[in-house]
Symmetry: C2
């Protein structure tokens, strides 16, 4: 499968899940997964999803501007680098963000998120 297509499909799935059912993201992480969210380091699927579901807004919508993808080495991983804007309900201005996902293959032929780094790009 074309890595760029895999990356694009992952990105669409990730953000549509984030925007509609944040707790559903748990399936995409594992115990060894790491999230760095605005500089805060969090490890493990349970802690990561607790962080994401605990963010102080209920409704949001991600609009993706760019998706870049590269293979990450012999283990079959894939780096997916995203830029876009995040619109929070009730806020006038969208927030620009960049996010990196390092996807690793699962034995079932799917991918999970080993590394996730999120930063807002303040104007």
């Amino acid at each position: 499968m074309d890595p760029d297509q895999v990356a694009k499909a992952f990105v669409e799935h990730y953000y549509s899940t984030f925007d509609t059912n944040r707790s559903g993201l748990a399936n995409l992480y594992q115990d060894g997964s790491m999230l760095t969210f605005e500089g805060q380091k969090i490890q493990g699927s349970q802690n990561i999803v607790a962080k994401l579901t605990g963010l102080p807004f209920q409704q949001c919508h991600h609009n993706i501007s760019t998706v870049d993808c590269q293979p990450s080495g012999p283990a079959g991983g894939m780096l997916v680098f995203v830029s876009g804007v995040l619109q929070l309900a009730g806020e006038q201005h969208p927030l620009k963000f960049s996010q990196l996902f390092h996807l690793m293959p699962t034995p079932q032929g799917s991918f999970y998120v080993l590394n996730d780094i999120f930063r807002l790009n303040y104007a």
Copy 2:
């Protein structure tokens, strides 16, 4: 060694080399290295440095805002996620950017850049 210190030292070395002697970056890449620069994919140290030295400006200065670092898996690699601004000589406004480096260990105990993804963050 503390991964955050390694990441910070790498970032300082990379951008000070970029800003003073761009062709000196060749040592940081290898034949299998990949750069995605504003969506354009380039492979190999020689091609990458040709791209970077051929960028249409002579003098520039990177100011780093954030550096986030995570181990990338069992191969001993490290993901370094940078945000900052790039000031070009003669331009009034700095350009915001985000950049990802995937560093892999060398047999000599150093690191090289396996993956490099660069994006300007347009306001």
